[in-house]
């Protein structure tokens, strides 16, 4: 009895979570432009999608920004974690608090304040400003996922490496870095997905003629979203899903090994 109730409960949650996305996926195969009519099964929106120059440009922008910003954020975040671990407990917790604030802050506030900052420094809006903003909001997520790993590290291993004659750099890359790697990887993937589906911050910091997928989709609101976008959203959803599976697999795989 309790078991069935449990199953129904879980099924309900999944239905509520995924029914909308599933509807969108089904509509991406609908030959008719309106959702009210089923015009037959088709792949034409998918092929139209790949022939649409604007959408493809936006896709390239999105991926480029996501990759570069998460890479840079990961490097900065890792360095930040390493240096924070060398600090006094009090300074560290203050710094951690400061890096956590942007995550709690509403995106729109971050977006508008970044826009105002760029304006006051006279920076020309374009891909560069989007990139800077994405790096900015990605860093806290990277720190968030590396810091716990950092705390688990045994400082003696690093010191032992130094005692055995390794230079600081060698000791870091041979001893500390491999232990941090799972955290760094999941931080990178987290940053990547955050950057991929950000809309508000991108909207405020993008320049004329530069679009990412999220801003491109949003501009279609007035005339009705085109089915090409359903096709695209399906592809994005599948991509993000795969990424999330990767994120969740990475640390757990490691733990299992450690448990053994």
């Amino acid at each position: 009895m309790r078991n069935t109730a449990r199953k129904i409960y879980i099924a309900l949650i999944f239905i509520f979570l995924y029914a909308p996305i599933f509807t969108l996926m089904v509509l991406s195969f609908n030959a008719s432009k309106t959702r009210a009519k089923w015009g037959g099964f088709t792949f034409k929106w998918y092929s139209a999608l790949f022939q649409n120059r604007d959408i493809m440009e936006a896709l390239v922008n999105t991926l480029l920004i996501a990759v570069i910003s998460s890479l840079v954020a990961t490097v900065i975040g890792t360095i930040a974690c390493v240096s924070m671990s060398g600090m006094k407990r009090k300074t560290r917790s203050i710094l951690l608090g400061i890096t956590n604030i942007p995550m709690l802050n509403a995106d729109i506030v971050t977006g508008i304040s970044l826009m105002l900052l760029f304006i006051s420094f006279g920076i020309r809006f374009g891909v560069g400003t989007i990139l800077l903003s994405h790096i900015t909001f990605n860093i806290p997520y990277v720190i968030l996922s590396i810091m716990p790993r950092m705390k688990q590290l045994n400082p003696s291993t690093y010191e032992a490496a130094l005692d055995l004659g390794a230079s600081h750099t060698t000791a870091f890359f041979k001893v500390v870095f491999p232990d941090l790697l799972p955290g760094i990887l999941s931080g990178f993937l987290m940053a990547f997905t955050m950057s991929l589906d950000d809309f508000i911050i991108t909207h405020f910091t993008k320049g004329a003629g530069v679009d990412t997928l999220s801003t491109k989709i949003y501009t279609e609101v007035k005339k009705g979203i085109k089915p090409e976008m359903y096709a695209l959203s399906t592809i994005i959803f599948v991509t993000v899903l795969l990424l999330l599976i990767l994120v969740n697999m990475a640390p757990s795989g490691k733990n299992e090994k450690a448990d053994k």
Binding site: S32, K33, T34, R35, A36, K37, R53, D54, V72, V75, I76, I79, A80, V82, S83, G86, M115, L116, F118, I119, I123, R124, F125, G126, V127, G128, T129, L131, L132, I135, H168, H203, F204, K206, G207, A208, G209, V210, D211, K216, Y218, T219, E220, V221, K222, K223, G224, I225, K226
Partner: protein
């Protein structure tokens, strides 16, 4: 050890910053004759016409899109992207004029805009641009009722029928302040730009009274819901009427007898536009009849370009009462004008009362 880390950190950050600066610096180099930065509604132009403009003039177009007047305004006002040409709606244009954001246009540089755009549209534009100094109409339309012949007993001709209990749960209203209040204001014969508290109170009470009959307050979904036969009557923009009728021939569009809103989206040039000359060239190009007819076919919203209308091949659409109602036949169609901050606040306050009632 600590020192070294700090050094590396500073080095990396400064490297990253230099790279960013380099990236931001090298923006567009422009075409041989410079560039023009256009900010238009999403899906509101045939992309081919932009290519044609670039080819013919050697001016590079940097094209950007917005989704509502309200999201466009702060971006333009902040100067974040320094646009040249923007295409806002009527009431937003009057707000921009009031805030001194627009440049006066020189119509001598735009022969197509002078010759091809119908006189009646300039006349109608005076509602928000009194001297026709700042704007060139690009798209226009009316707001009316779309109804499903098979689901109503008699032809719909009046806003009052949206209050008929027969159609309870079969009515779709627009989920935006001005469009919703417009219906109630016209029902009582008020101006749709009224800020008279008493008139607004009456309109508000009517909307509250109507609320139980309304199936849903929607924006985009009117289209799909009406095509799917999910509702009998819906308030809709005329631009959508042609498309919905093509999908479902039972649908009929009318402009109610009490009058309605006529809306115009027009090209304007910003006061601090970096490429004013190119901006006028762009606007004029968009007014050329062969270009305008291409855009009409792509957008399907009515074009104010009389010369372009002559070029439409489909006779039904060319003579369609929906796409091209004769504005001179109506004396009760009004454009929205900006009501000022107080007016806006009053409307929003009342709309909140309607929605939360």
């Amino acid at each position: 050890m600590k020192k070294k880390n700090v050094k590396t950190a500073i080095l990396t950050v400064s490297c990253a910053l230099t790279a960013m600066a380099a990236l931001t610096g090298c923006g567009s180099s422009g075409g041989e004759n410079g560039e023009v930065i256009v900010y238009n509604w999403g899906e509101y132009i045939d992309p081919e016409t932009i290519d044609m403009f670039e080819e013919e003039t050697g001016i590079k177009v940097i094209y950007d899109e917005f989704e509502t007047n309200e999201t466009m305004y702060p971006k333009v006002e902040s100067g974040a992207a320094s646009y040249d040409v923007v295409c806002p709606s009527d009431y937003m244009i009057s707000k921009m004029i009031e805030n001194d954001m627009l440049a006066e246009l020189n119509f001598d540089n735009m022969p197509n805009a002078k010759a091809n755009i119908g006189e009646q549209y300039y006349e109608q534009s005076k509602g928000f641009d009194p001297d026709n100094k700042y704007s060139v109409p690009y798209c226009w339309g009316t707001v009316g009722i779309l109804y499903n012949q098979t689901m109503v007993d008699e032809p719909i001709t009046s806003w009052a029928q949206l209050w008929d209990e027969k159609y309870a749960d079969n009515i779709l209203m627009q989920d935006s302040v001005r469009d919703a209040f417009m219906v109630a204001e016209k029902l009582h014969g008020f101006s749709l730009n009224t800020v008279d508290p008493e008139e607004l109170e009456t309109a508000k009470n009517s909307l509250i009274e109507q609320k139980p009959l309304v199936q849903a307050y929607v924006i985009d979904q009117v289209r799909d819901k009406m095509i799917g036969g999910e509702a009998a009557i819906g308030v809709i923009y005329s631009g959508e009427a042609i498309y919905t009728q093509r999908e479902n021939p039972d649908l009929v569009y009318v402009i109610p007898e009490e009058g309605s809103n006529v809306w115009i989206d027009s090209w304007v040039v910003l006061k601090d536009a970096p490429n004013k000359e190119n901006a006028e060239k762009f606007i004029d190009f968009m007014c050329r009849s062969d270009i305008a007819v291409k855009n009409f076919e792509y957008i399907t919203y009515s074009t104010p370009n009389d010369a372009a209308r002559e070029l439409i091949e489909d006779e039904d659409i060319k003579n369609s009462e929906i796409a091209f109602p004769d504005l001179s036949q109506y004396d009760n169609l009004e454009v929205y004008v900006y009501l000022g901050e107080e007016g806006d606040a009053l409307y929003n306050e009342m709309w909140k009362e309607v929605k939360s009632n």
